[in-house]
């Protein structure tokens, strides 16, 4: 039976996969169990994957794309490795969502900042790539910088619309 699975780097545990297999109503069908997932279950699975997987998952089908775009998922991904930046979740949401959202925050800035950089800067070692094994914790400074850049981008877009 054809089974299409997300990227191998996914943290989808075997336990989850087994559970899905059990819930598969039509094992003899050519559609794989994962493709039969409804939105809610898909969402639950996506809550556990890393950024790269989630981004790739959104290329699979319309349903997957719709589900993967959910801001709550990207909020999870963004905040998963953040040190406490001092403000509450609600407060963070009320700032990030109007300024473009967590998905944009990640793709625009967090992703770039977390890639391994050339050693041109002294006194700061960049955190490792955000992958399924959370080894690096992001400090306040990295987070604040990304948020600032998001706000500037929002402002510049606003200016361009207004002209």
């Amino acid at each position: 039976m054809k089974r299409r699975t997300p990227d191998s780097q996914a943290t989808v545990s075997d336990h989850k996969l087994k559970k899905i297999k059990e819930e598969d109503e039509e094992p003899e069908d050519t559609k794989s169990g994962l493709m039969n997932l409804d939105e809610n279950l898909l969402y639950e699975v996506f809550k556990h994957v890393d950024a790269r997987t989630l981004a790739r998952a959104s290329c699979v089908s319309r349903l997957w794309r719709q589900t993967a775009k959910d801001e709550r998922l990207w909020e999870l991904i963004c905040t998963r490795h953040w040190a406490n930046i001092g403000c509450g979740t609600q407060q963070l949401r009320s700032v990030v969502l109007p300024l473009g959202g967590f998905r944009q925050l990640h793709s625009g800035y967090i992703w770039t900042l977390s890639k391994p950089q050339a050693p041109s800067v002294s006194n700061w070692s960049p955190p490792k790539i955000l992958n399924s094994k959370p080894s690096a914790r992001w400090g306040k400074d990295e987070v604040n910088l990304c948020l600032s850049l998001l706000s500037i981008q929002f402002y510049e877009k606003m200016n361009n619309r207004g002209r």
Partner: protein, 538 residues
């Protein structure tokens, strides 16, 4: 002496091609050229076979005539090893006569071993050989080799340009305008031998223009900075996008302001030059995320009056208000239109005694410096009313340069060094039209420093050390910019910029520079409490 590092700019500009070629297993032709250029060699891969053949000939020739080695040492300027093809050719002519396809320009008279080649370069005409046999000069071949000649000429011409610029500036200072004028014509001619797309040729061109303007149009020079406010804003915006200097200024100042506003519920920022207000979205966002919620933020933006009934200050204020509203920050904006900073009076700012005030000056204070050091010069007046506001913090960002010396030649020399470093750093920018407009922005600054005098010369940059003395003398005390600011600046560089930029910390102040030459410095100040009985609300 001007230190011009041409290899750094070529290395910087080819780093893009290096990274792209590493992804393919077998680099195509152009990428090899790029790799060579990145290593500092001005040679095309198509020429390499010829170079190899000549190296073999050179080896045998050197083996045959060991006595001639000492003569190589005296003519260092002949040999530009990065231009492999010409270097090998010129060495070969020392030993074995010219290779059949070599241009006459490289013939050295081995009898008296003069630097005959030098004069051939400056005259740019072929020189008939003295001694050698078996030489054929085909027009096409010499034309071919003219191309390789030019690259070797460039570096030499660049150095000559610098010398001529200095001489011209000296003439201007001493009043010898006729010699200065002829030098300008010579330099214009020399420019054709130099690559004016990047490096020394580009910045030299701007300095030549500025000198010409100074000589011929007198020193009113109002046309230099006569661009409309709208134009200036556009240029400023592109300068912001093309290189990290302004971003560094904004982020560093914001960090200091944020820390100073900690614990205050009513805060007021006075911006000495609002422009497009690009500094403030980040502060609004940071205040919105403050633990415990944002304060009431008032922003007073100072800027030049806009013509045609447009109120550009108000437009910017409205946009910032919209952003603040989106993130639930109570926000009030006030615009103060003034063509000069010294025309602003403190009552216009309507500072409330209960609020915490931050004064933000990004490259504005130097405009208040006059050439005469009088008692109540504009800078003293403004600094004293700032002090009267009792701000929690005053953030000052200034160009780290000494462009306000009384002697023209000193100023010119400093400016040449400063702006060529800045243009070097701009080479790393890849986005157009940002880069081109940023260059025009810098060009206007150069024009003002070099060709204007008196009240027209507003770009009176002074180094941090001088500002420290001046501000301490005016009753301010330096605040240390914390390690957070340093870290943020470093991160900013990794996100936005090419290698080559460097952040330095210097007694609590941060500076951003290119290859360890600081170009812009940020500092933070607080008013020392006055001894008279004005109640300061702390």
């Amino acid at each position: 002496m001007l230190r011009y590092d041409s290899s750094s700019s070529s290395a910087g500009s080819s780093s893009g091609s290096l990274s792209s070629s590493s992804s393919s297993s077998k680099p195509p032709q152009q990428d090899i050229d790029g790799l060579l250029a990145g290593a500092g060699y001005k040679v095309r891969s198509s020429e390499l076979r010829q170079v190899a053949q000549r190296l073999e000939r050179l080896e045998t020739a050197m083996g045959n005539s060991p006595a001639d080695f000492s003569q190589l040492a005296s003519d260092a300027i002949l040999y530009n090893p990065s231009d492999l093809a010409c270097w090998v050719d010129s060495l070969l002519t020392e030993f074995a006569g010219p290779p059949p396809t070599c241009s006459s320009d490289f013939i050295v008279d081995p009898v008296n071993n003069q630097t005959v080649v030098n004069s051939a370069w400056t005259a740019a005409e072929p020189h008939t050989p003295q001694v050698h046999q078996n030489i054929t000069y085909e027009e096409q071949q010499s034309l071919d080799n003219q191309l390789t000649v030019v690259t070797a000429m460039e570096e030499d011409s660049g150095i000559r340009l610098v010398h001529m610029l200095m001489t011209c500036a000296e003439c201007v200072q001493s009043g010898d305008l006729s010699l200065a004028t002829s030098l300008i014509d010579d330099m214009q001619g020399l420019l054709t031998h130099v690559n004016t797309v990047c490096g020394i040729g580009k910045v030299a061109g701007h300095f030549i223009d500025a000198l010409r303007r100074r000589i011929f149009q007198g020193m009113g020079g109002g046309s230099v900075n006569g661009g409309s406010a709208f134009e200036n804003e556009i240029l400023y915006h592109h300068f912001y996008e093309a290189c990290p200097y302004l971003k560094f200024a904004h982020f560093t100042a914001n960090q200091a302001i944020l820390e100073a506003f900690d614990g205050h519920d009513c805060v007021h920022v006075v911006d000495f030059n609002l422009m497009h207000g690009l500094q403030w979205p980040a502060l609004i966002q940071a205040l919105a995320l403050r633990p415990g919620g944002p304060p009431l933020l008032r922003l007073t933006g100072i800027g030049p009056p806009s013509p045609d009934g447009r109120d550009s200050l108000r437009e910017i204020g409205l946009r910032l208000a919209e952003l603040a509203r989106s993130v639930n920050v109570r926000f009030a904006f006030r615009g103060v239109a003034a063509s000069r900073l010294e025309d602003v009076k403190p009552w216009m700012l309507q500072v409330n005694p209960k609020e915490a005030v931050a004064v933000n000056s990004i490259m504005q204070l130097h405009r208040l410096l006059g050439s005469e050091q009088t008692r109540n010069s504009p800078i003293d007046t403004v600094l004293s009313w700032i002090r009267g506001l009792n701000p929690k913090i005053m953030t000052v960002v200034e160009q780290e340069a000494n462009h306000n010396q009384p002697g023209f030649l000193d100023r010119f020399t400093e400016a040449l060094y400063y702006y060529s470093t800045m243009f070097d750093s701009l080479e790393a920018c890849r986005v157009q039209p940002e880069k081109a407009l940023a260059e025009i922005y810098i060009q206007r600054e150069i024009g003002n420093v070099v060709s204007c005098e008196g009240s027209a010369r507003v770009e009176r940059h002074e180094p941090l050390a001088k500002w420290r003395r001046r501000l301490s003398g005016a009753g301010f005390r330096a605040l240390h910019l914390g390690s957070n600011a340093f870290k943020q600046a470093s991160m900013l560089l990794t996100l936005f910029s090419a290698e080559g930029y460097s952040v330095e910390e210097n007694e609590g102040c941060l500076s951003l520079g290119w290859h360890s030459s600081p170009l812009i410095a940020a500092s933070a100040w607080q008013a020392v409490p006055a001894r008279d009985n004005h109640m300061s609300s702390s």
